[in-house]
């Protein structure tokens, strides 16, 4: 009963438009005061949240990808990939997905990935006669790779709340990320065979390829530096983000000379705004998390699940359904922050690996990013392409199915995620 009342108030606060951070923090604080606990817990939780070293990676990964964005790296990446695969059947679509995958390796955010690649790929694909619905769906879905292929801000947040290794999460995202890229590519090629509405690209000459690749090379080197640095243990995630930011400045400022002072300041400003918004939500969720822990809610839900759900398949089906429905209206971080403390103990009791569960959660929130009415990637593509939300939303469902298929593969074969961090 208490659980339902608390959920009802939380949803009411969120839906009347109280910023997520204050809805969570305010309700948590109210529950503490109402339950006779000290309000001191609120400022203490905020301080202890911001005192997490791993969260320093949030502003720095944002700075890295914003600097690259202002430096026009998206265009260079897309240009290079297009020169190599543009003439394939559905070549532009393939180039788009591969560019999303590459950009994902230097950005921790799916919105940034969708916006960066979308800005260059959408006009190109539409002018070549690709079906618009397919184009919008492709970009919205391709953008979600940004949080599955490391680095990933939602993974940092999951690692922070679950007290699990962020490096392990990053490495565990690579396998499913590559699978998803593969599935999107294959789907695009099949789609291209069936529909013949588009004009194929001419094959680029070797000199064109060389030139385009040369320009994209520094960014590719940066992506490689980050992944290899994390894999080899040279960097912690926080250090990787700092080095990535510094390298992004060198690449765009000194090598490509495409970053202006104005662009630099905008990158700094945008990153700060997003960082403050994100970290404040985490702090609010921490206050809320403590309040529900004092009311013993996660413990009760875990016990309920343990008593009523037998078998990991039932559990995952149920959780997937809950997350899909919740994902209709919630955004990424709120979902991770609200659901992780509630679901993870139950999942671990059923024998799931916490890292595996983190990757599962990330793919599920990726789905939330492209389901209407609230899906950030839909909004981004809508803004970039200047079309209505429903036009974008109609194109995403094949990709949504592919993502759910990826979850199924991940369930059947957990090593898809766990092999790279733990067995390689």
């Amino acid at each position: 009963m208490t659980i339902l009342a608390i959920l009802a108030i939380l949803f009411a606060l969120l839906l009347i438009g109280v910023p997520v951070a204050f809805a969570l923090g305010g309700l948590g604080l109210g529950m503490l005061v109402f339950g006779g606990f000290s309000p001191l817990m609120a400022p203490q939780s905020i301080l202890s949240t911001l005192d997490g070293f791993i969260l320093l990676a949030v502003p720095l990964f944002l700075l890295m990808s914003n600097v690259l964005l202002k430096g026009g790296v998206g265009r260079d990446l897309f240009g290079a990939v297009q020169a190599w695969v543009g003439h394939w059947p559905g070549g532009l679509a393939v180039a788009t997905i591969l560019s999303c995958g590459l950009f994902a390796a230097i950005s921790g955010s799916s919105v940034a990935t969708a916006a960066t690649i979308g800005t260059v790929a959408i006009p190109e694909m539409v002018s070549r006669g690709y079906d618009r619905r397919f184009v919008y769906g492709l970009l919205a879905a391709g953008g979600t790779l940004g949080i599955l292929i490391p680095p990933s801000i939602p993974m940092i947040v999951f690692g922070f709340v679950a007290e699990e290794s962020v490096i392990a999460l990053f490495l565990a995202g690579i396998g499913p990320g590559l699978l998803l890229v593969g599935m999107f590519v294959v789907y695009s090629m099949i789609y291209a065979r069936v529909s013949d509405s588009y004009t194929p690209m001419p094959k680029a000459s070797w000199s064109e390829r060389g030139e385009a690749s040369l320009r994209a090379l520094p960014s590719l080197a940066l992506a490689l530096l980050i992944v290899v640095g994390l894999y080899s243990g040279t960097f912690t995630p926080t250090e990787a983000s700092a080095v990535g930011f510094a390298a992004a400045l060198v690449i765009t400022g000194l090598v490509l000379r495409s970053l202006t002072w104005r662009g630099f300041w905008e990158a700094v400003r945008d990153s700060a705004v997003t960082t403050a918004a994100i970290l404040l939500i985490i702090a609010g969720a921490k206050v809320f998390g403590k309040a529900i822990a004092l009311y013993r809610i996660p413990q009760d839900i875990s016990a309920f699940i343990a008593a009523n759900i037998d078998g990991s398949l039932t559990f995952i089906l149920l959780v997937s359904a809950v997350l899909l429905i919740m994902g209709l209206v919630f955004e990424t971080l709120s979902m991770i922050l609200i659901m992780t403390p509630v679901l993870l103990p139950a999942a671990m009791a059923l024998g799931f690996d916490p890292i595996w569960f983190g990757i599962f959660m990330v793919i599920m929130v990726e789905c939330a990013l492209i389901t209407p009415p609230v899906g950030l990637n839909l909004y981004v593509i809508q803004a970039v392409a200047r079309v209505s939300l429903s036009q974008v939303a109609r194109g995403v469902w094949p990709f949504l199915l592919l993502m759910l298929l990826c979850v199924a593969v991940l369930f059947a074969w957990p090593d898809l995620a766990l092999y790279i961090p733990f067995k390689w």
Partner: protein, 305 residues
């Protein structure tokens, strides 16, 4: 009934958690249910490092913290981290015995935070982990990146010629596996619980520091209880405290056995090795005396006897 909520960083199934459950049972029996103990394990309420402030301010009645978490309020507590000072069970037992100068001084200093120590929970000695050979002398540490947890241990590693790196418990496994640090440092029970034998092959039984946890209660809350209840809680605390200290040597022995079973080499220090370590450690003692002042000198003199 009066609630006594206790915050614990570790899961309930850890040995500190089990000890806290024993304390819960003892208190509830002795007080006839007048005190209702609730344990919030796995850091659901507070992380270890937040416990001193949370208990001191009265945000929660009680909590378990590593003693070193009080170093900011009471630098004197890090006498347990003075290199090779309390490196045998006998020396530790003498230091933590009730009424000993070490314990009395530390408890008086901690009490200034608004929270006071109810009882001590033994956690065992700190050891070093490595790959491809032991860390027998400071020469083996020279130029190596070493995981530490806290300032005093960092000072020690620096004094021995290594590079201290703060790595959290949850990142430990991968930091060793990936070589982010070359040398590990932990209590030996951590080797077993985190399966660190998968990533390191040698344990050097340095016992260069002794890890103690303390259960602290908010002073105002404590003083608000009746004498009778306080007596019952103190009795329960003593039972829990003695149990965990007696059990600790078994736990350590089990952990060493498990480590060996899983292929680790366990290396002890010789007298000569120990002398070399002690020779490089003096700066750590000097820094301790400088920051802990008069109380530090009292405690150090008592511990050295």
């Amino acid at each position: 009934t009066e609630k006594m909520r206790i915050s614990l960083q570790l899961p309930l199934k850890s040995h500190l958690g089990q000890n806290l459950s024993l304390f819960e049972k003892e208190v509830e029996e002795r007080t006839g249910g007048a005190i209702d103990v609730e344990i919030y394990d796995s850091a659901t309420l507070y992380k270890d490092k937040e416990v001193p402030a949370a208990v001191g301010s009265g945000a929660i009645e009680a909590g378990v913290a590593s003693l070193t978490r009080y170093v900011g309020d009471a630098p004197v507590v890090d006498v347990f981290y003075m290199p090779f000072l309390l490196n045998s069970e006998d020396k530790v037992r003498a230091a933590v015995a009730e009424g000993s100068p070490v314990r009395t001084t530390i408890e008086a200093e901690v009490a200034k935070t608004g929270g006071q120590i109810l009882f001590w929970q033994a956690y065992g000695g700190a050891i070093m982990l490595s790959k491809g050979g032991p860390i027998k002398t400071p020469a083996d540490l020279k130029g190596k990146k070493v995981r530490v947890f806290g300032k005093t241990l960092g000072d020690f590693v620096t004094a021995a010629g290594g590079a201290p790196t703060l790595v959290s418990g949850s990142e430990q496994y991968l930091a060793y596996q990936r070589g982010t640090v070359d040398v590990g440092m932990t209590g030996v029970s951590g080797v077993k619980s985190r399966k660190l034998w998968e990533v390191m092959d040698t344990i050097t039984v340095t016992n260069h520091a002794d890890i103690e946890f303390v259960v602290v209660v908010n002073t105002d809350w404590w003083n608000g209880l009746s004498d009778e209840i306080r007596g019952h809680i103190s009795d329960a605390a003593r039972v829990a405290q003695d149990t965990v200290r007696d059990r600790m040597s078994e736990i350590e022995a089990e952990a060493y056995a498990a480590a060996k079973e899983n292929g680790m080499t366990v290396v002890e220090l010789s007298e000569d090795d120990l002398a070399q370590w002690k020779a490089v450690s003096q700066p750590v003692y000097d820094a301790y005396l400088a920051s802990a002042g008069e109380a530090g000198k009292t405690v150090l003199d008592a511990a050295q006897q």
